[in-house]
């Protein structure tokens, strides 16, 4: 049906147009693929090769050891909880920044990107001090018997910091572009404000919320610098997967290190694939 439209005809015409007149395609693509292969692809292939050097059975045995599983569970679980927290509060921050005006709004808007710019080691020592037993916030929470630093809770705090900008930055533009007419229509038809938010706004924002969640999750799974200072790093309890890689490397257990690394990469790939499928599904069903 769309093939009969003028645009489609134009597109087909463009296809038939003689080849691009711009020069430099060969060198540009050659340099790009060579650079990418040397820096990223070949090194990652070497990593997978190392992890499988003892055969598949050995890989599975190493990947399912108790300590490895505990570390993976903490990295993936902690990242998922932190991304969930960021989904809720990221939506709140995006909402407040795009809908209300108050003094300092522009400054706060700019500062939301701080976790992108602040080196992870700096965030790490700062959060460890802040949420430590003598810190401004940690001391306050300790009075109520809540320990954050050196527990799995500390991991979640660090991962929340690291993933903070993602949801805000994916939801904010959608919220700003959203036509107020839909909300007005819902209100005219007798919907209460909460009903409008639930049935009109949230469905429209859901794909971007999910994108932000996935990005925060992906970032959190691999995060190292901001976590190790606050986590306490007790094996089986507060030891994240990237730290386990470092420990195995320091023990010269290269195969063990590469198995953990390869498992992390495979799992995060599957997770992102699942999120992408979910997103495609919601897009089909909301259309």
């Amino acid at each position: 049906m769309t093939d009969t439209t003028f645009e489609a005809a134009q597109k087909r015409g463009r296809h038939r147009r003689p080849r691009n007149v711009l020069p430099g395609f060969g060198p540009a693509l050659g340099f790009t693929t060579a650079y990418l292969s040397l820096i990223v692809l070949i090194p990652l292939a070497v990593l997978f090769g190392w992890s499988l050097s003892g055969g598949v059975a050995a890989f599975i045995e190493l990947a399912t050891r108790e300590r490895t599983l505990a570390a993976l569970r903490l990295s993936f679980g902690g990242a998922a909880i932190a991304a969930g927290i960021n989904m809720v509060f990221g939506l709140l921050v995006a909402w407040v920044l795009s809908r209300y005006s108050f003094p300092g709004r522009k400054l706060i808007d700019a500062m939301v990107d701080l976790p992108f710019a602040l080196p992870t080691a700096v965030a790490g020592i700062s959060l460890a001090t802040l949420y430590g037993p003598k810190g401004w916030i940690g001391g306050f929470l300790a009075d109520y018997g809540i320990k954050v630093a050196f527990t799995p809770l500390g991991v979640i705090v660090a991962l929340t910091f690291v993933g903070l900008p993602f949801v805000v930055r994916t939801v904010q533009p959608v919220l700003e572009d959203l036509d107020r007419q839909y909300e007005e229509a819902a209100a005219t038809l007798g919907a209460g404000r909460l009903q409008t938010v639930r049935h009109v706004l949230l469905p429209a924002l859901f794909p971007s919320l999910l994108t932000g969640f996935a990005m925060a999750l992906a970032r959190g799974i691999g995060e190292y610098g901001s976590v190790i200072f606050i986590a306490g790093n007790l094996p089986m309890r507060s030891e994240i997967a990237p730290l386990l890689i470092v420990i195995k490397l320091e023990e010269f257990d290269y195969r063990g290190a590469t198995v953990v690394a390869a498992t992390m990469l495979i799992l995060s790939f599957l997770m992102l694939l699942a999120v992408n499928l979910l997103q495609a599904w919601t897009r089909r069903h909301s259309a």
């Binding site: 650079y35 990223v40 090194p43």
Partner: protein, 304 residues
């Protein structure tokens, strides 16, 4: 006569106070009551304070806790200066290389059609979803003593792991996507019309690139370089795996922060950390300025 008739058939014009009520009703329907509004703003600011502003403020208060003299003393120690130097050298090598990569990738992807383009785009993004620790690990595997070429390298006195080349390689891996990700969507938006015009007027390929393409994307280039540089100078995980932590030799600023912190030299650690926090603030300020002043000349994608 006609006037009075027309007036008679129309409802009387609304009085100012009625208009105000109507506006208030619309606002209530698509907005929130002032109290809820205030509550939401307060909740957002509280969240950001706990997770953003307090950590940032703490860096500077801890850095200056023992006075300005100690602060400056910590920054001018021999090992601190060596770390600053190494960080500048590392960023000085890796950022230009990734800039060249970003320009080449954007030229190929935004100006030509070829099969496998979306795969290439995905692969360029790959370093963002790889743990920094893994980014360092891969180069240890390739160039370390236990690797295939490790013995040959050490026999010829070439040091890559636990030395500058390794640190640079790990940094390049981690910061590879930044410039490309800004330039590809930007050049796609701009299209090739101006370049085709320059070529048809007799300009050579390089002339077109230097005098048409680059000036058009200069703010995008600056934007990408800015973010690339911030990450290159602040990278911790990848560099930590490959550097070997040799004090005064292979410690960058973030690694030196870790060493000092683990030795309980908290003030010195935070003094070094405050340098990086300052870098982050300057980066954010410049980034915000670019977004505000040259919004039309930047890609409208998601900012990283």
């Amino acid at each position: 006569m006609i006037d009075t008739l027309a007036h008679a058939s129309l409802p009387p014009p609304p009085k100012p106070h009625e208009l105000a009520t109507a506006r208030a009703v619309t606002r209530a329907a698509t907005g929130e009551a002032p109290a809820i509004r205030l509550l939401l703003i307060a909740a957002a600011i509280l969240f950001l304070t706990l997770f953003l502003f307090a950590p940032l403020a703490l860096v500077f208060t801890e850095a200056l806790r023992q006075g300005v003299v100690k602060f400056i003393g910590a920054l001018t120690q021999k090992e601190a200066l060596a770390a600053i130097r190494l960080t500048l050298i590392t960023a000085g090598i890796s950022v230009p290389l990734n800039l060249a990569f970003g320009l080449a990738a954007a030229w190929a992807i935004a100006r030509f059609r070829f099969p496998g383009k979306s795969l290439l785009l995905t692969l360029i993004d790959l370093p963002f979803s790889v743990s920094p620790v893994i980014s360092g690990l891969v180069f240890v595997l390739i160039f370390g003593a236990q690797s295939l070429i490790g013995p040959w390298l050490s026999a010829h006195g070439i040091k890559i792991v636990f030395a500058l080349p390794g640190i640079v390689l790990a940094t390049i891996f981690v910061t590879l996507p930044f410039v490309a990700r800004e330039l590809i969507p930007l050049m796609q938006e701009q299209g090739a019309d101006q370049e085709e015009a320059a070529l048809s007027l007799g300009a050579s390929g390089w002339q077109t690139f230097w005098h048409v393409t680059l000036p058009n994307v200069r703010w995008g280039v600056l934007y990408g370089v800015l973010l690339c540089n911030a990450r290159a100078m602040g990278e911790f995980g990848a560099v930590s795996v490959i550097s070997g932590h040799v004090r005064g030799l292979t410690n960058t600023i973030p690694l030196h922060v870790e060493v000092l912190y683990n030795e309980y030299a908290f003030s010195a650690a935070f003094a070094m950390a405050s340098l990086l926090a300052l870098l982050a603030l300057v980066t954010l300020a410049l980034k915000t300025f670019l977004e505000w002043r040259f919004a039309g000349e930047l890609a409208n994608g998601l900012r990283h």
